[in-house]
């Protein structure tokens, strides 16, 4: 019954309509606009639950498809659908948005209605990115979602917000332009804008390399991969808490998602030829960024760098496929790597969101993000300290939390590719614990450092709900990840087949 609903359209348009309503209600409405925003975000989250429960785990085909002509002249369709790769990310998006609305409830004093509206509209656009199966539609959502984020950082951000927004915008925009060129070229080759057609279109090596690089620039910036990562710490530091949460939890995943939806299946031979580059950049992200995170004085910067290191695991998990095939002559381990990367994406969504919210809790009270301004917070905020330690442990990849699952899977899989990949990746056990727990030591533990810390008030009910929901999610995935991993199997197996089937022979067969 539910499967007959245009569920994906509802997930896209419900929050956008809600956002417009909130804008119309305006700031004069008191708590009204916030209530509308909360109602719409909750409704969207509720709508995304059947997406998970009704999802057919047995097929790699796109599900919940909707397809109507949009711009007939160019064969552009309003074509939506999800598989086991995109579906968990959509649920993550709707979940995170509820938290962001709650987190901004009393904190955002200036133009709260516009703030809430920006996040609702962004939510719809992000769901659009994950569910679009038409390249033109994908591109519209992809660029569209930048605008609300740009506004969020630019209007509610910190003192250097202008520098940060421009850097953020230019970086991501320049990448996107190259992607647009690649998408148009593929349209030219395949005669349609359907992403699924792109997967089938035969391409020569030179074409593949150029397309791969064009995609790489777009996606690497979003992930972000070393060395195009420096916009992220700046953006995070300047963004308000909600902006950081969405940026870390969802936007970074969109880059990684791009590799799976575009790069690997469309340009398998180029991916195989350049996998060494991707693996090298991923491992640099894990090790180099791990050391950089260690010495950050600003909590948000530290978590931002930690995000980059964790996303290194994601791209590592994607691109070890080829080395595994080459070294073992089989694909055993490839699915484990990609599923591990996907779990890492979801988990990082929870954990980084939770850590940014924790920093937000402190920032709202003391208006500082600097580690040295804190110390002994556990004395005055014991409940907060318990949550913070839990999320810190999840960030350090402790078993029983979601942070462990993806890292563990990727480390296991990369050993099959090359023990040294695994060796370098596993340094995160030490580095991740070092930078996260050193911060915890300086901020949470110790004697009360100053009068502001002594005057801190522990969590209120709203903050309890937000952090408690994330804590449950982190523990649930850590203790029993099977329900999450289960939905991915068919799609990931199919993807591994696509990624390891050369298009060059196809080209030779049908010139």
């Amino acid at each position: 019954m539910l499967a007959d609903w245009p569920l994906l359209s509802l997930l896209i348009w419900t929050p956008i309509v809600g956002g417009v309503l909130v804008l119309l209600a305006g700031d004069r409405g008191g708590a009204g606009p916030k209530r509308i925003a909360l109602a719409f975000s909750l409704a969207t989250f509720a709508l995304s639950i059947p997406l998970f429960t009704e999802f057919d785990r047995g097929t790699a085909l796109m599900q919940f498809q909707e397809r109507v002509p949009w711009i007939a002249a160019f064969d552009i369709y309003y074509h939506l659908g999800v598989d086991g790769i995109s579906m968990p990310l959509i649920v993550l998006t709707t979940f995170a948005t509820v938290l962001v609305v709650l987190a901004g409830w009393e904190v955002i004093q200036r133009r709260p209605a516009q703030y809430m509206a920006a996040f609702l509209i962004m939510e719809g656009l992000m769901v659009g990115v994950f569910s679009a199966l038409d390249a033109a539609l994908f591109y519209v959502f992809w660029e569209g979602m930048l605008i609300p984020m740009f506004l969020v950082i630019g209007m509610w951000g910190g003192p250097r917000r202008v520098y940060a927004t421009i850097k953020f915008f230019l970086y991501t925009f320049l990448g996107s332009v190259l992607m647009l060129v690649a998408l148009i070229y593929l349209y030219h080759k395949s005669g349609s804008f359907s992403i699924l057609d792109y997967h089938q279109v035969p391409l020569g090596m030179r074409e593949q390399l150029l397309i791969f690089l064009a995609f790489l620039v777009a996606f690497a910036v979003k992930v972000p991969m070393w060395p195009v990562h420096t916009w992220l710490p700046d953006a995070h530091v300047e963004a308000p808490t909600g902006g950081s949460v969405i940026l870390a939890a969802i936007m970074l995943k969109i880059g990684a998602y791009g590799f799976l939806r575009f790069s690997l299946p469309i340009t398998p031979d180029a991916s195989a030829a350049l996998d060494w580059l991707m693996i090298a950049l991923s491992l640099i992200a894990v090790v180099y960024i791990g050391f950089v995170a260690l010495v950050q004085a600003d909590m948000k910067k530290l978590i931002a760098y930690s995000s980059i290191a964790h996303m290194g695991f994601v791209t590592l998990g994607f691109f070890i496929v080829y080395t595994i095939a080459e070294r073992n002559g089989g694909l055993q381990g490839a699915v484990l790597g990609i599923e591990g990367a996907l779990v890492q994406m979801v988990s990082h969504g929870f954990v980084s969101a939770a850590l940014f919210l924790c920093v937000g809790v402190l920032y709202d009270r003391m208006h500082s993000r600097l580690i040295r301004d804190y110390g002994g917070v556990a004395n005055t905020m014991p409940a907060f300290a318990a949550f913070a330690v839990l999320f810190a442990m999840a960030n350090a990849g402790l078993p029983g939390t979601s942070g462990f699952v993806g890292e563990f899977m990727v480390i296991l899989a990369s050993f099959k590719a090359n023990p040294w990949f695994s060796f370098l990746a596993a340094t995160t056990l030490i580095l991740g614990a070092a930078y996260t727990l050193w911060m915890v030591k300086r901020v949470i533990f110790g004697p009360v450092r100053n009068e502001q810390v002594a005057a801190l008030k522990d969590l209120d009910a709203r903050e309890y709900v937000v952090l408690g929901a994330l804590a449950l999610a982190v523990l649930a995935v850590g203790v029993w990840p099977d329900p999450l991993v289960e939905v991915m199997h068919a799609s990931v197996e199919n993807l591994v087949q696509q990624a390891t089937t050369s298009k060059l022979q196809m080209l030779a067969a049908h010139p």
Partner: protein, 655 residues
């Protein structure tokens, strides 16, 4: 029985949840309710452990190996949570739950006035759950779960008094050093999955003999047997958790935690997880002579070198901590000599007498209002008779007095090292033999300084001296009983009766214990025979030296310090291991981080590339601005040139 097995870890977990969550959110749930919840949970676990022990030994039950639930399936590999219950497990769960129960009861007295009373009970019950999951596991995933979970609780408990800078330094250090071990451990698990396609013990052990000749290229041109690599990587994990040199540095600092957890976690149970793990993996280790030699040598170095450090400590808990390190070294030597049963035997006896010593030390510490410096103790024998006698029993067991439990286990480790024929066995034998003297010396140095001699505490402290309450002394007595008796009662089946069955596998050509069995004619005959062996005289010499130096001729200590000044300095500075770690490793990491950040990110990427590009665009624009003159004929001219260029390019292409 499945529900009995499940109940063992779940009962303490329930206790932890009740004590933790309800204690935090429902303050009306009083302190007593919290400690009853935790104690009841652990008591149930202990009772069920006894049932399992009975079933596995006298009841004639078969080992049970089964899954509880499927954690995840990916890539055709089933990752499961499950139990392997055999005699090794039964022995471990019984030891763990018994010591844990004693410590829980003791805590009521020790932590009586602490504001974190409820939190403490929640933590130690959670610890018990984690440790039980670790020892009951039937697969590497759950082993790692338990492994890290006990590490987490250890972290939380070392830093229990989080206002103290030293405590939160120590817990971070402990966690990070353990993470270095885990780094190796997780790679070992990855190697196992890569070569055996399963993380299930039974699958891996069955397939292991077939993998004997597999090699892996660790460096170009350097081939290693896969099994050796796996065993060494797993052993790195054991070195972290069981504090073997050079990853031993965290254990002495862990004494910042409250004394009950020093007894439970940092003496009796968690630190022996590495020993247990290697014994559990005996089917793998037996296939690698190289790995066993490494284990043997590391154990020997730890046993001797860390024992020496115990001689120069003034903090009573640190003396016992170094003693623990040294005893863990003994167990590791036993593992390296393929005498896994002897290692587990010593693990068990040590759990009793070392927990006893720690709790006795705790009793002294509370009597002196949290004074831990032995220079401010002395003559406590008269004030604290129960503590005195139980501490004496613990000390005699520790130094291996014939008849006490520690005697039987330690003697066989020395004999096993003597009988082993692999590389490093010679060194190990001399190290553990010399270690006997050192053990006796530091143990009785501590004992005499605390309980005998001049009363060096101040008047105020002396006036308040009295024996500890029943909740403290009863666990001491209950631990003293097995410290005396358990060795004599269990040595025959454990070491020579093949009691462990299939749980521990030893290749016939490695079986040193089988050789010793021929000379064993019952526990009492063995104890009498010991009087004619070197360890007995070495221990006696150690006690005598301690008596001379610390009771009768105190000036001798100063003389020894002057004569052997370089050695003394090395010991006082703990072989400079902490300094090395702090300056070279931790400092180096921070310097590297700062360098990568400031040079890599700020200067090169942001400075030269990003902002440099921005400046370049600015400069180009400044030049390009001059092109836009606004005169129509300039534009027309430019268009003409462009058109010409394009046409010639196209013409060139067509040719």
């Amino acid at each position: 029985m499945r529900y009995v097995y499940l109940g063992i870890p779940l009962a303490p977990l329930a206790g932890a949840i009740v004590a933790g969550l309800f204690g935090a959110f429902w303050p009306r749930l009083g302190r007593a309710a919290c400690h009853w919840a935790a104690i009841l949970g652990v008591a149930v676990a202990f009772a069920l452990s006894l049932v399992v022990l009975w079933e596995q030994t006298l009841g004639g039950g078969e080992p049970w190996n089964g899954a509880i639930y499927t954690w995840m399936v990916s890539d055709g590999i089933r990752f499961e949570i499950g139990f392997l219950v055999d005699r090794l497990t039964a022995l471990m769960v019984t030891t763990v739950t018994f010591v844990s129960l004693m410590v829980h009861i003791y805590t009521i007295g020790y932590m009586h006035d602490d504001p974190g009373y409820r939190r403490f009970f929640a933590y130690i019950a959670l610890f018990t759950f984690s440790m039980l999951m670790l020892v009951m596991s039937n697969n590497f995933l759950q082993l790692f779960f338990g492994w890290e979970a006990v590490g987490l609780v250890s972290y939380l408990l070392i830093g229990f008094w989080f206002k103290r800078e030293t405590a939160i330094y120590a817990n971070l250090k402990a966690f990070l050093v353990n993470r270095v071990g885990d780094f190796g451990f997780v790679l070992g698990i990855a190697a196992i999955l890569a070569y055996f396609h399963s993380l299930d013990y039974a699958d891996v052990f069955t397939a292991a003999p077939m993998a004997r000749d597999l090699t892996i290229e660790v460096l170009p041109g350097l081939e290693w047997p896969v099994i050796t690599l796996i065993c060494l990587l797993l052993f790195v994990g054991a070195m972290g958790k069981s504090a073997q040199v050079p990853l031993h540095v965290w254990l002495p600092d862990s004494m910042e935690g409250p004394t009950p957890i020093s007894a439970l976690i940092h003496a009796a149970t968690m630190v022996t997880a590495g020993i247990f793990m290697v014994a559990r993996m005996s089917p793998l280790y037996e296939l690698s002579e190289t790995a066993l030699s490494v284990v043997l040598v590391i154990g020997a170095v730890t046993a001797f070198a860390t024992g020496l450090l115990g001689l120069v400590q003034h903090d009573i808990k640190r003396v016992i901590a170094y003693s623990t390190l040294s005893q863990l070294g003994y167990m590791t030597v036993a593992l390296g000599a393929s005498a896994y049963a002897a290692a587990i035997f010593h693990l068990m006896t040590h759990a009793f007498f070392k927990a006893l010593l720690f709790l006795a030390a705790g009793s002294v510490i509370i009597a002196l209002h949290h004074e831990q410096d032995m220079r401010k103790m002395g003559g406590l024998r008269r004030y604290m008779p129960v503590t005195y006698w139980t501490a004496l029993i613990g000390s005699l067991a520790l130094i291996g007095t014939p008849g006490f439990s520690g005697f039987y286990s330690k003697e066989h480790i020395i004999e096993a090292a003597h009988g082993a024929s692999r590389w490093g066995a010679e060194l190990a034998y001399w190290a553990v033999l010399a270690g006997v003297f050192v053990t006796a010396l530091y143990t009785f140095r501590m004992f005499f300084l605390v309980f005998h001699g001049r009363e060096r505490m101040d008047e105020h402290a002396r006036a308040h001296l009295r024996e500890s309450p029943k909740v403290v002394t009863v666990p001491l007595v209950l631990l003293a009983i097995p410290s005396v008796a358990v060795g004599a009662l269990t040595i025959e089946p454990l070491l020579f009766g093949g009691w462990f069955g299939e749980a521990i596998r030893v290749a016939p050509e490695h079986d040193v214990l089988a050789g010793l069995a021929a000379h064993f004619h019952g526990a009492w005959a063995y104890a009498l025979h010991a009087v004619r062996t070197p360890p007995f005289w070495l221990a006696a010499a150690g006690v005598l030296t301690a008596a001379v130096v610390y009771l009768w001729r105190p000036a001798l200590a100063g003389l020894a310090v002057r004569v052997a000044r370089p050695l003394y300095l090395a010991l006082v500075h703990k072989y400079w291991a902490d300094d090395f770690n702090e300056i070279v490793l931790a400092g180096g990491a921070r310097r590297l981080g700062r360098l990568l950040w400031q040079v890599g990110d700020v200067l090169v990427i942001d400075g030269a590339m990003v902002n440099g590009t921005a400046r370049l665009v600015g400069m180009v624009a400044a030049v390009a601005r001059h092109v836009q003159t606004g005169y129509l004929y300039h534009y027309a001219f430019a268009m003409l040139i462009g058109l010409l260029a394009m046409t010639s390019w196209l013409l060139g292409l067509m040719r």
